[in-house]
């Protein structure tokens, strides 16, 4: 009896405990160890420093030339950001000169080898576009850098949405003439990149002087660039996508070259900045860019006047018809001063120069010394009232000066012809003034009013001529 009572009592004791326990608890949850990231195994991606490429950059051949650097299109960069390129250009004997006044563009492009614009925010004017197109058509080099990370951020007044005004539209105003388009996007690669998805690696290159020696380059926030008629210089991997479409496009890359090979556009310029200029083969690319920019085979013509000479000295040859009068000496001294301002010395010679840069001064009288030039440019000299030119037909001999320009590998020769000693002196003065604005000017032949004894006004000639500033001291342009 007692045992059963104890058992009952225990049962009764446990029952409410069990009931409450079961009311709330239906089992024991199994909890295992929770895996967490292996933080200690993580490492920041290493910078792909390439010391060999940096060394290669210094081994360059001096070629010289002046490079115009655009600063008037609200360019979103600091000059020190392109120090690596500037240094590479200087190592090759080149010199950077700022483009600060659009009215001077045509003049500056007469002696410059190349034009560089970096992240422009203001479109190029029609006049600038045409001038630069002519420049590139003559063999001048143009390099346009844009950058997807350079934007003016502003807010839409209606929605409040932030909007980014980048540089692609402004760059395209220049590049469209060369069938190159910079897209308003950025390239990215989440699979294989240089430290960040927006730092895109390129390991496929079109064959070009710009891509010589490249195995891998990295661009840091680049627009995509395309050209139907030209070539894509840097092609991304298939996993490289455009932010515009989130897809890969084989017709796009990080840089493109125009069909004529004179204009290159890059979607990024951060690769020029430190330390990125020393990563991957970027230093080699920068060296190639410097070579490219100074290697333009720009055709010199009378359009480039007064920058028509290649050498540091010019031989001056007077034909036997020309007498060194006091007035002529005065005119020649003016010419000497003008050329010296451009860093060119003159040397007088009694023998018609066969090589090197030269100025030949003569009259319209048919002479053996002049005939080869006249013949070459279809100019018929003689005793009549008119001189016949292929480009301008018959022009009156009185008060007229004719310029012939012969550019060759041996040297560039400028021939000055006029009827009388006074006209010759006036023609030399026109040349000394550094402008052909009073002349009908073609590629190789110009007809100038020298205003003595003819139908032209001497006042207008002088007036036009003095409007132009005397050229600043400038190294002899190359090519």
């Amino acid at each position: 009896m007692k045992r059963s009572s104890i058992f009952t009592a225990l049962l009764i004791l446990i029952l409410p405990i069990l009931a409450r326990g079961l009311w709330f608890y239906r089992g024991l949850p199994q909890r295992g160890e929770i895996a967490t990231p292996d933080f200690e195994s993580f490492a920041a991606p290493e910078a792909p420093l390439n010391k060999t490429a940096a060394k290669a950059n210094t081994a360059s051949e001096a070629t010289g030339g002046i490079v115009l650097l655009d600063t008037i299109h609200l360019n979103q960069f600091n000059p020190n950001e392109i120090d690596a390129l500037t240094s590479a250009i200087q190592e090759r004997g080149g010199r950077m000169e700022s483009y600060i006044d659009s009215t001077q563009l045509e003049y500056q492009l007469k002696y410059a080898s190349a034009f560089i614009t970096v992240s422009p925010s203001v479109p190029f004017s029609t006049n600038e576009q045409q001038t630069l197109k002519k420049f590139a058509d003559r063999g001048g080099r143009i390099l346009a850098f844009t950058d997807a990370t350079r934007n003016f951020i502003y807010y839409d007044s209606t929605s409040g949405n932030p909007l980014a005004y980048g540089d692609s539209e402004s760059a395209n105003s220049l590049l469209s003439a060369f069938d190159i388009t910079v897209n308003n996007d950025y390239l990215y690669n989440t699979e294989k990149n240089e430290g960040n998805f927006r730092n895109v690696l390129f390991d496929e290159f079109s064959k070009s002087e710009l891509t010589f020696g490249l195995k891998e380059v990295a661009l840091y926030g680049t627009h995509s660039v395309e050209s139907l008629s030209g070539m894509i210089l840097l092609r991304g991997m298939e996993s490289t996508l455009s932010s515009g479409t989130d897809a890969h496009d084989f017709s796009q890359g990080g840089a493109a070259l125009s069909a004529d090979g004179n204009v290159a556009a890059f979607g990024d310029f951060t690769f020029l900045t430190s330390p990125y200029n020393s990563y991957t083969d970027n230093a080699t690319l920068i060296a190639n860019l410097a070579d490219f920019i100074l290697a333009g085979s720009r055709n010199t013509s009378l359009q480039s006047f007064p920058f028509v000479f290649k050498e540091k000295s010019v031989q001056v040859f007077l034909t036997s018809e020309v007498t060194k009068t006091t007035e002529l000496v005065t005119a020649l001294s003016g010419l000497q001063t003008s050329l010296r301002a451009m860093g060119i010395e003159i040397e007088f010679t009694d023998i018609r120069p066969r090589s090197g840069d030269a100025i030949v001064i003569g009259s319209f009288a048919p002479m053996d010394e002049i005939e080869p030039y006249a013949k070459k440019f279809d100019v018929t000299l003689g005793d009549g009232d008119f001189i016949t030119t292929a480009e301008y037909g018959d022009v009156g001999r009185y008060g007229t000066g004719i310029l012939l320009f012969d550019a060759s590998d041996k040297g560039n020769t400028l021939v000055l012809l006029a009827d009388t000693p006074e006209d010759i002196n006036s023609l030399i003065s026109v040349i000394s003034n550094g402008s052909l604005s009073a002349c009908l000017t073609g590629e190789s032949v110009a007809v100038c009013s020298v205003g003595v004894g003819g139908d032209y006004s001497s006042e207008s000639t002088d007036g036009e001529a003095t409007d132009e500033a005397t050229p600043e001291a400038t190294p002899t342009p190359s090519g």
């Binding site: 009572s5 104890i6 009952t8 009592a9 225990l10 049962l11 009764i12 004791l13 446990i14 029952l15 409410p16 405990i17 009931a19 409450r20 326990g21 009311w23 709330f24 608890y25 239906r26 089992g27 024991l28 949850p29 909890r31 295992g32 160890e33 929770i34 895996a35 967490t36 990231p37 292996d38 933080f39 993580f42 490492a43 920041a44 991606p45 290493e46 910078a47 807010y155 929605s159 409040g160 949405n161 932030p162 989440t190 699979e191 430290g195 960040n196 330390p275 990125y276």
Partner: protein
């Protein structure tokens, strides 16, 4: 022994062997606590103050056996990396002992999603904003010297070169991505190029992608937590009040001139934070 004595003895025996054990059993049973589903709410960014509050609540849940499971209720764009990681690590300790379920209200973005990924189940509302997996940082300026500030090294003032800061962000990203891999793993239905694109999804899309488990309410989250903890008839309790934490926050975001909080942190740094493109006007 007369009849009355017998009756008394029966009564006494009844009291001794039935009523007393019953009363005693009932009294003892009250020692069995009613299970609590602890609720931790985060309706702010994750920064030192809110992170410490969360950690105190997590600690409370660890220390108190009656808290059988925890539900994290999020309406947060994330926050600083280090504070998010601090909460993440404490959460891991809790999860080893008790189930944790997430209920996303408005948003569990970036760092808040980092924490969500370290829970057993994620509920979202159809229009909740979920995801934005990744790291965002402000690079320091290129170093320069200032006349009136003297330092002992070129990066004493600036912290790090811009380039190494960029690479640090990439390293932090690895932790985030691995946390998502570990937390969601096979539940993810899209590839890394989608999941880690930094996109923020609606709750509907998030469940399709396996970023979240199910569309549901906070109550669903309590029930799920109870199910995982194998408890019933639970009581959902706000752990903030139980742990005695002060939830009135400090200023993490920039304050506009009109006092309106802008969605941008008030100091530069590296964040697991969703910064919306629309400025608050």
């Amino acid at each position: 022994m007369n009849e009355s004595d017998t009756r008394w003895e029966r009564t006494r025996n009844g009291l001794l062997w039935v009523a007393i054990p019953l009363i005693l059993g009932i009294l003892i049973s009250t020692l069995i606590p009613k299970p609590i589903i602890g609720v931790i709410r985060l309706e702010d960014a994750i920064y030192s103050f809110t992170a410490q509050n969360m950690i105190k609540q997590i600690q409370y849940a660890i220390d108190h056996p009656e808290v059988r499971a925890v539900v994290l209720v999020f309406d947060s764009p994330g926050g600083t990396v280090v504070d998010t990681e601090a909460v993440y690590m404490e959460l891991t300790r809790l999860r080893a002992m008790k189930p944790v379920v997430t209920a996303v209200n408005g948003m569990a973005a970036s760092g808040a999603y980092y924490l969500s990924a370290n829970t057993d189940y994620i509920y979202a509302k159809p229009s909740s904003m979920v995801g934005n997996i990744g790291v965002i940082g402000y690079l320091p300026p290129s170093p320069f010297v200032i006349e009136d500030i003297i330092t002992t090294g070129p990066y004493k003032l600036w912290g790090a070169p811009r380039d190494s800061d960029m690479r640090q962000v990439e390293m932090i990203k690895q932790g985030f991505f691995q946390a998502v891999e570990l937390g969601r793993g096979e539940k993810l239905t899209a590839g890394p190029e989608t999941i880690y694109s930094g996109q923020i999804w609606s709750g509907i899309d998030a469940t399709r992608l396996g970023i979240a488990d199910e569309l549901g309410t906070e109550t669903d989250a309590y029930n799920k937590a109870a199910e995982l903890a194998k408890v019933a008839n639970y009581q959902a309790e706000d752990l903030a009040s139980l742990a005695g934490v002060n939830t009135s926050g400090l200023l993490f975001f920039i304050q506009g001139p009109d006092g309106v909080s802008l969605p941008y942190p008030n100091k530069a740094g590296v964040y697991m934070l969703y910064i919306p493109p629309l400025p608050v006007k």
